[in-house]
């Protein structure tokens, strides 16, 4: 098992296996990735960068497709919208 690293999801520290994607960290945290245009919570659907449901704010950059971004130590992630 690879060693863990910690990222912050909506302010909460989350330990993930090294190499995990940001979408995984958000799922472990139980936090939605984004809020839809009518206010629904949404999270990853396709897991392969096509559906754009997993976009969130990663290190200040909005609309980041979290299923395609590997976690880095001390990353700050928050729900988009």
């Amino acid at each position: 098992m690879p060693s863990d690293l910690t990222v912050r999801v909506n302010g909460q520290p989350i330990a993930v296996p090294a190499g995990s994607t940001v979408a995984v960290a958000m799922a472990i945290a139980g936090q939605p990735c984004r809020t839809s245009v009518t206010g629904e919570p949404r999270a990853a659907l396709c897991g392969m960068g096509i559906c754009f449901e997993c976009r969130a704010i990663v290190n200040g950059i909005p609309h980041s497709r979290t299923c395609q971004i590997p976690c880095e130590a001390d990353m700050e992630v928050s729900t988009d919208g």
């Binding site: 659907l45 396709c46 897991g47 960068g49 976690c71």
Partner: protein
């Protein structure tokens, strides 16, 4: 703007799954300068996806990935093609950089995605694609002790179930919409495909004790803020099953957006090709799922033919025709077996969202007459996925067909769209 790089190739392959790897390897082994661009972080595509928790590849994957390493192919991973600014040049965008790639010959191996059908509750967090959940698990998501219902259609469902079980998930139910008699005919026809029989037996052993319902499909997902249970139709009755995840996919749809943008004609929704995998667009070849959803073995053969033909090795390519012919029959068998039943057209309620990007409900879409009218009047298909999810759904629900693909083929950063290509395409005639 981030780092700007330019690369020039005799043969450029778009897509790093089995078809793309096979094409790139054969072209490079023929002596061409080959680039392989893929949006994932490592070669392998969806079926041979690696990750922190997934180190076990099947032997075929290991041998192709090793051959790729030895072949001298330049892999450009984490780069998504978004635009063709001029003939013979493609642009790709990474997390903080942009690539300009010029080529003599292009091989498109853009793969397939899952088909999603809308039903009440399908937008809840933890309702995911079957392949989608598998990709997340391979990317580190722990599912040990989680209850996962798998529903939809196609052989992928069983492969996903097996993978999730190996990672400790409990699978209370697999719902396959195809009826039992079609699946029985499918199983009988596998006699001509020994490698598929081996896969089938392995899956059967790995899934011992898991309930597989045929003629069964999801009716509604329930939960407050996230999934808690799913109601399925099973043997004509509805049944509620509590679960942590619903992994849902109704077979696969080919990724034809980039081929269409580059001028490749489609036939019955697939990229039209000749015997040498050449499309109707000049110097553009296509291999794998975009030419017909047929699985990994067919993708490998088609990729090899494309890579050989792209480098003028017609004789070697021709030697693979009979193998391809047999595997294409398997693709037709898949289409016949996992065709969608008409009951699935009535799953959505008036409030069910069909377009997840723009939150457009079924009630607003059923008044529309075409995909184009729906886009103009409701914004369906106008969000960031550009209709990749709701397009195939509306095609099934309303028989609409998407009418055009416009650049950029994926949303891209403004500064990357504004980048001016500096390449002069390589002299033509030397690559084929």
């Amino acid at each position: 703007m981030g780092k700007y790089s330019r690369e020039q190739f005799d043969v450029l392959v778009v897509g790093g799954g089995p078809a793309g790897i096979a094409a790139a390897v054969r072209a490079a082994e023929a002596g061409a300068r080959v680039g392989m661009v893929d949006e994932n972080l490592a070669p392998g595509g969806q079926i041979w996806r690696g990750g922190p928790l997934e180190t076990k590849h099947p032997p075929a994957a290991l041998s192709w990935l090793e051959r790729l390493k030895a072949s001298g192919v330049t892999p450009l991973c984490g780069q998504r093609v978004f635009h063709q600014p001029q003939a013979g040049v493609l642009m790709a965008e990474g997390s903080d950089d942009v690539y300009e790639m010029s080529y003599g010959t292009l091989v498109l191996a853009t793969g397939a995605r899952e088909r999603f059908l809308p039903f009440p509750g399908w937008t809840l967090p933890n309702v995911m694609g079957a392949g989608g959940l598998q990709a997340m698990v391979k990317s580190g998501l722990p599912v040990r002790g989680k209850r996962v219902v798998i529903a939809g259609s196609g052989p992928l469902l069983l492969a996903v179930a097996s993978c999730l079980r190996q990672h400790g998930a409990e699978i209370p139910l697999i719902c396959e919409q195809a009826p039992w008699n079609k699946l029985a005919r499918f199983a009988a026809a596998l006699i001509g495909y020994p490698e598929k029989i081996v896969q089938g037996f392995r899956l059967r052993t790995e899934l011992a004790g898991v309930a597989l319902a045929t003629g069964s499909w999801p009716l509604a997902a329930h939960g407050n803020q996230k999934l808690e249970a799913v109601t399925v139709s099973r043997a004509g009755k509805s049944e509620k099953v509590h679960c942590d995840y619903l992994a849902c996919g109704f077979h696969l749809v080919p990724n034809t957006e980039l081929p269409v943008l580059l001028g490749c004609k489609l036939r019955n929704g697939y990229v039209q090709i000749n015997d040498f995998q050449q499309t109707t667009a000049e110097k553009v070849f296509c291999a794998g799922e975009p030419t017909g959803v047929g699985g990994v073995e067919l993708a490998l053969v088609e990729g090899q033919i494309a890579g050989l033909a792209a480098t003028g090795k017609m004789h070697a390519g021709r030697e693979l025709f009979s193998k391809r012919q047999k595997l294409r029959q398997f693709a037709r068998l898949l289409d016949e077996t996992f065709g969608l039943r008409s009951e699935l057209r009535s799953l959505a309620s008036p409030e069910t969202l069909i377009c997840r990007c723009e939150d457009v409900p079924y009630s607003r879409l059923r008044e529309q007459t075409s995909w184009r009218a729906a886009k103009l009047h409701t914004r369906c298909g106008m969000g960031p996925c550009q209709g990749r999810i709701c397009g195939p759904a509306t095609q099934f629900l309303f028989k609409w067909t998407p009418d055009s693909v416009r650049p950029p083929v994926f949303p891209a950063r403004v500064e990357d769209l504004a980048a001016q290509p500096q390449s002069v395409p390589p002299a033509t005639g030397d690559a084929q």
